[in-house]
Amino acid sequence: MNVDVLIAGAGPAGLAAAIELRRLGVGRVLVVDREAEAGGVPRHSAHTGYGLRDLRRVMTGPGYARHYARAGAAAGAQIRTSTTLTGWQPPAGDRPGTPVATLTSPAGIETVAARAVLLATGCRERPRTARLVPGDRPPGVMTTGELQQRVYLHGERLPGPALVVGAEHVSFSAMLTLAHAGADVVALVTEHRRHQSYAAFAFGAAARWHTPVWVSTAVRRVAGRGRLEGAELADLRTGESRFVECATLVFTGDWVPDHELARLAGAPIDPGTRGPAVDTALQTCLPGVFAAGNLVHAAETADVAALGGRHAARSIAAFLTAREPLRTPRLPVTAAAPLSWVSPNAVRILGPPPPRGHFLLRSEVFARRAALVVRQGATTLGTAHSRLVPGRPVHLGAAWMARVEPAAGPVTIELG
């Protein structure tokens, strides 16, 4: 099969990109998704608040997912679900080009050659095993993804008491989901010295559900053979441990991009975001291969992912019509500790501004008002100030891009 654009992932970023590509007149747009339904994670995220920045509406996750799936089809994109992109082959012939994709679906195995590829495969939460939490390995320990699917897609009830690890937005969402499933939540537990969500969420949790947030608390061990009995928690300030009984334990947040396809294609990975390195046009280091959404910034809200998809679509449309691809120097942009990552991770001389006109960063530390300094070598390109909350987006304007020198080396963003 030959298409103009192949999009891996029919979540908000992939579908928004498909819609925009069709609006810009791109002919054959194929979106593949390995799940049975299109829409991505919002399919099973039953709370409201979706659609603010991209649709200027307020919707539930499932409603938002359905909206994008319908809009994608209505725009004339071909959307194939239960279709998995399993690997890549080099393009045929001796012309350089995008890799050819191999797909598996109930219809069989096919290859798809596309003039451009967009990777929009999103992100997942790191499970207990990846976080190296030792102890026994009983059932009842899960991430929010599994929790949401069990409760909202399969209608399951879950046993309490429950413990939520993490105090980000998604952690409060998990608390609501557990309550919906009939499990009393004992607490949210975070290693940070305070929660990382909006004050309203924490206040609401405490007031309505009497659910405390235990800060500076780490999960040291899971206990239970055959059946989850509880978790051993440690107070990071005093060193004291205590055992908390629970029958359901949910590890939330701590997102990592689902970058397998990027790795298999040979796209260099940014060590900060752990997604494929992308410039402000959202092009990876591989010509014709683009990446958008939470694959390149794990994890922003769905509307931010969708707007990134739209941005990538504009870059792809330009790429498809350009006689010469943009070959101006590409300079890496990195975030220095204690900043965790910056997205996009590269700028090109004469390249476009990033999606929504700003760079996204994450911090490992709290700060009421930190100075973010953009440097290239010894030169300061710009400074901005921002509040820092671990796990929450930090926005950095892009005006400094105009001052980047092509031969002066990589750009770093540091705390001043």
Binding site: P127, T129, T143, E146, V256
Partner: protein, 469 residues
């Protein structure tokens, strides 16, 4: 209450050794019953080990282990081809990192020859890095063991058990043996799943073998104690697989046996084990210090592991006895065979042990008449390895049944068809863990983020909930 019918042979333990013995005995005109406390086969040491098909190069020369390992591994290589058990002959490199380790190499080579494994050969540092470019700095020299292989530890006992079942062996699972009485020409076993009677008794009870032995012999001659030895292991993401081609083995010194880094047949990279003597023979928990120590050791051996995600961690419990050889013997007067203390080589030696124990039983008086009409050969098991073609890659299979094209567990690329097949198999899974071992579902990097809800629903539809993972 009337006595249950008396089987010819009762085997206690449905691990890799017990099921191998069952399969061997099933060739003969015997009524064989296999008893296990767990609700599935292969749930003890069998399911959690280093998944290496050993050549036996480093066994104790002249020991029974050495002999049965050499014989058993050759048999398993052959059986694996016929049964569709994933095996990859990756070879192994024994790497010396210190002068002390380097000085130990010639003796290891000599022992290998004594054990009957001749293809072992020395490798220089340059040779090591040519073979394994991602090896950490500081390797001084090594030995190559070209035939050391990796194998699937889950399909192996399932293949044995499925073959045994097809030949008429009965499985009494969920039956913990609490007492054994020798009476009326047979053994009466009291179990949590009811009474079982057999004229001959085989003890292949792994971590519980000393308990069973004490029940049978009353602690008489040659009794032994199982000392569980726990080894923690880390499984790295499949994206780490290109970092190495061979199994990387440590050189044991007086202080430590060291840790290995090995590919797995599923495409992961395994790191471990630690070695800790513990008292609780059901304690398969991991520890903070164990995992941290492993990471440090692993990063020295293969620095590329630093940036890869950990997919899983687990603990391996070896049934050490304090003896340096297997505890395999037959007590003719008691009509009792003991196949215990199999240390860390049960998987590799399983078919050799089964052949040997069967021979001992025959010598002791068990009448072996070839069964007429035995099914020819092992069952073809669902293939779980990365080296071959899996259903999601097989256009023909998908064309014949579209459910092999619908991937349910995305990380491990397990299709709806394979899960359906496992649930409908002759030895179906009793719980989520059993389904994992038969299909790889839920074993991937997302650890159920994407698929656990769906897979659990499929399991619940086939089996009512109540089991354990």
């Amino acid at each position: 209450m009337s006595q249950p019918p008396t089987a010819d042979v009762v085997i206690i333990g449905a691990g890799v050794v017990g099921t191998a013995i069952a399969r061997q005995l099933a060739r003969y005109d015997l009524r064989v019953v296999v008893v296990d406390a767990a609700s599935d086969v292969g749930t003890g040491t069998t399911k959690a080990n280093t998944a290496i098909l050993h050549t036996g190069f480093d066994a104790e020369p002249g020991s029974l282990e050495s002999r049965l390992l050499r014989r058993g591994s050759a048999m398993l290589h052959d059986y694996a081809v016929r049964a569709g058990i994933p095996v990859e002959r990756t070879g192994a490199l024994l790497v010396a990192w210190t002068p002390e380790q380097q000085q130990a190499l010639p003796e290891i080579q000599r022992k290998s020859i004594l054990n009957g494994y001749a293809p072992i050969r020395p490798v220089t540092a340059a040779g090591l890095y040519a073979r394994e470019p991602r090896l950490g700095p500081g390797a001084l020299a090594g030995l190559e063991i070209p035939d050391e292989s990796i194998v699937c530890p889950w399909t192996t006992p399932l293949a044995y058990a499925t073959e045994a079942l097809a030949a008429g062996v009965r499985f009494r699972l969920g039956s913990l043996v609490t007492g054994v009485r020798d009476e009326a020409g047979g053994h009466t076993l009291t179990t949590s799943g009811g009474t079982v009677r057999g004229r001959w008794l085989v003890n292949a009870a792994g971590l519980g073998a000393d308990r069973i032995d004490a029940m049978v012999t009353g602690g008489e001659h040659g009794s032994f104690t199982i000392q569980p030895r726990r080894g923690e292991l880390i499984v790295f993401d499949k994206l780490a697989r290109p970092l190495l081609g061979s199994i990387l083995l440590p050189v044991p010194t007086a202080q430590t046996k060291g840790v290995l880094v090995a590919p797995t047949v599923y495409g992961n990279v395994l790191l471990g084990p630690t070695a800790q003597d513990i008292d609780d023979r059901a304690d398969t928990s991991t520890t903070g210090t164990g995992l941290t120590g492993l990471l440090a050791a692993g990063r020295a051996i293969l620095p590329g592991l630093v940036t890869e995600e950990v997919t899983a961690t687990y603990a391996w419990l070896r049934a050490a006895t304090g003896q340096r050889d297997y505890q395999v013997r037959v007590d003719a007067a008691r009509r009792y065979a003991c196949a215990a203390g199999i240390r860390s080589t049960g998987l590799s030696a399983s078919l050799g042990i089964a052949e040997y124990v069967t021979g001992l039983l025959a010598e002791a008086g068990l009448v072996l008449t070839e069964r007429v009409g035995t099914p020819a050969g092992p069952p073809l098991m669902p293939y779980l390895g990365e080296a071959g073609t899996r259903p999601y890659q097989d256009a023909g299979r998908i064309a014949a049944d579209a459910r092999y094209g619908r991937i349910v567990c995305h990380c491990e690329r397990v299709t709806e068809g394979e899960i359906r097949d496992a649930l409908a198999s002759p030895l179906p899974p009793a719980d989520a863990g059993g389904l994992r071992r038969r299909t790889r579902a839920m074993n991937g990097r997302c650890q159920g983020f994407y698929c656990a809800a769906t897979v659990s629903a499929m399991l619940a539809t086939a089996r009512p909930p109540g089991g354990t993972a």
